[in-house]
Symmetry: D3
Subunit: 143 residues, 6 copies
Amino acid sequence: MATRSPATVRLVDEASAPARVAAVFQDIKTTKAIDFVPNFWRVLATQPDQLERVWSHLKALMHPEACGRPSRLDPLTREIIALAVSATNGCAYCVNSHTAAVRKLGLDVEALGEVLAIVSLFNSTNTLADGYQVEPDVLPPQE
Amino acid sequence: MATRSPATVRLVDEASAPARVAAVFQDIKTTKAIDFVPNFWRVLATQPDQLERVWSHLKALMHPEACGRPSRLDPLTREIIALAVSATNGCAYCVNSHTAAVRKLGLDVEALGEVLAIVSLFNSTNTLADGYQVEPDVLPPQE
Amino acid sequence: MATRSPATVRLVDEASAPARVAAVFQDIKTTKAIDFVPNFWRVLATQPDQLERVWSHLKALMHPEACGRPSRLDPLTREIIALAVSATNGCAYCVNSHTAAVRKLGLDVEALGEVLAIVSLFNSTNTLADGYQVEPDVLPPQE
Amino acid sequence: MATRSPATVRLVDEASAPARVAAVFQDIKTTKAIDFVPNFWRVLATQPDQLERVWSHLKALMHPEACGRPSRLDPLTREIIALAVSATNGCAYCVNSHTAAVRKLGLDVEALGEVLAIVSLFNSTNTLADGYQVEPDVLPPQE
Amino acid sequence: MATRSPATVRLVDEASAPARVAAVFQDIKTTKAIDFVPNFWRVLATQPDQLERVWSHLKALMHPEACGRPSRLDPLTREIIALAVSATNGCAYCVNSHTAAVRKLGLDVEALGEVLAIVSLFNSTNTLADGYQVEPDVLPPQE
Amino acid sequence: MATRSPATVRLVDEASAPARVAAVFQDIKTTKAIDFVPNFWRVLATQPDQLERVWSHLKALMHPEACGRPSRLDPLTREIIALAVSATNGCAYCVNSHTAAVRKLGLDVEALGEVLAIVSLFNSTNTLADGYQVEPDVLPPQE
């Protein structure tokens, strides 16, 4: 048995982060109410422009209340979407991270199972629709 | 400009479906409260075993109330998951079908935009996490 | 309703193909026992190096008998693999092409349904394994 | 070097499984003729409905003889499809599991190489067909 | 033969766009030096927040000179990355759009063939690496 | 925490490789100017036909100068394409390998961040284009 290799860049430490990066790190911890900076953000910090861009984008969509923006979706639904996408793509980091998030928002193991069952169902039906090249149904137009 | 080719098998017509297939077609229309059989099911009907298996699987997960089963997710959340998966996979039939479904359940064009924005955000962060090979955060264990 | 756009490059015509391309076109028709050059090869012919490379690669693997090479898989199994990959990727051209190939090799509509059912099943279980981040089972080593 | 994180839920032990789960576990071991319950099923057991649904679906398609159903495909071809899908999706658990299965069914290392070569060939041609947006060939219609 | 269905939302017309949307449309045309608004942006305009967010993100990365930012990559390399991703994902709109962009930047049909050959090669080797579960090489660490 | 499982086949050692395999191994080391044989090639060597086929294909496209062939792309652009594909597919081995290659060719951590930012941007816009089923723009035809 061998071990998994680490990230392809050296993670930026909170302690030694330049001011610009430290400000984003602090905002991430405050907005997400967590007491550490996840590895994802420590990796992006190797390119500070990217860190700022991705964080502001994610903050706007996933923490709209912190941005004073209205949202039509509740926080759990938003995290369920994140998990559905991550499971479909098979992204290990993302599945771990968003599973932790939905659990923290109250989804228990049984309900997590229901979510993943639905995600896997549609990966299956997508394959059938593509595998048969089914044409879209002709539906009445809508706005 | 050329035209899109049709499905790779001939769709089964409602009118001429054998009894076993007709029964599933009827259940689909009743359960989904629609007055036509979507092309997806007409294609699966070319192999009746498969039609029954996929429909009973989808009915159990997407129409649990019709099966007398409890669900932890509301119908709109379930369809949003279906759309998130279908957009991530780029399945044309499925995107059309699940967009129609979320619209019917009350999601307007603005809210659809919010859903797809979140879906696309996580396809983007998945790529970054995989592209840097970020290791999962070490979190406290949970049941 | 709008129409599908054509390929992003102009297809090379058999009639006006340069000698090097014409030779590959002829080999494709002979090896596959067909009387036209599929669009895929007419597109690749816009870069003759690529046409030769892809065709020789595909010929070696899919028509080993024409290359005097042994194969452990029969022609239908090889085409079934091609269809499984194409359905999983949702590649429209490829699904059409490999469905035609498996049909020509004797797979009827029912058996095609069985193949696609299995393909979709494993797209579903793949999602579950990734969605739960299941660790590989520890199995006894093998050569 | 860091280590791979474990599954996102605690695996259900055979010894302490509730009766409903234990019955499925036993059926898996009997049907597959193995003496342990693979991690995949131990994870699904966290939601017993899902365990039953996925197992009955997989049993019907992959062990049709145990269900008294006819199949048009032999067991090795079915497992080769599973491996082709899993390699295309890059699912680590699934590749490990289905490689073990095809090996057990007699595929040696050389033949495994032929299977994966064909799987990779079609991932390559799929990319070319999509990358050039090749239109499907116009073929004579078939039933 | 049937026709491709249109987008799932009604495209926003330049003529009737609200001021906020019209400003982005104008910036797109100016920055990209084109005289029409591509369908992609007309669709995103159904949710103006999203239009602004995606455009500012894309402008920053793909038109850094217009933002007064330095870039380490030339415009053609950036568009080649866009095409490589789009071909890998099989996104029809995106392949069409980025093929047009690389052509406009001077890539002829032969060189386009070289790009797509490399894209397809690595989709093939990715499948082999995942299909065999090859472990990363142990390399000397680097900053 | 558990460990990552090894490759599904035993890697071929340089020391004990048969002559045919050893010749390819030597060519890989010479052409790439490295002093070890990467795991990828040691795995493919379990099926020598495949090793030769994949290596000659990769050598022709990625080391054209060693084959006396002209190329329109410089070595760094070619490796950037490889990384873009690998990050999009989430292939762990490939991301590690091609990140090492672009670093060796001079891309520093900041520029790597720019590449991955662009790769992730287009995974995001691909999802939006597919998620809305945007139709290709009608453009003037080109050769």
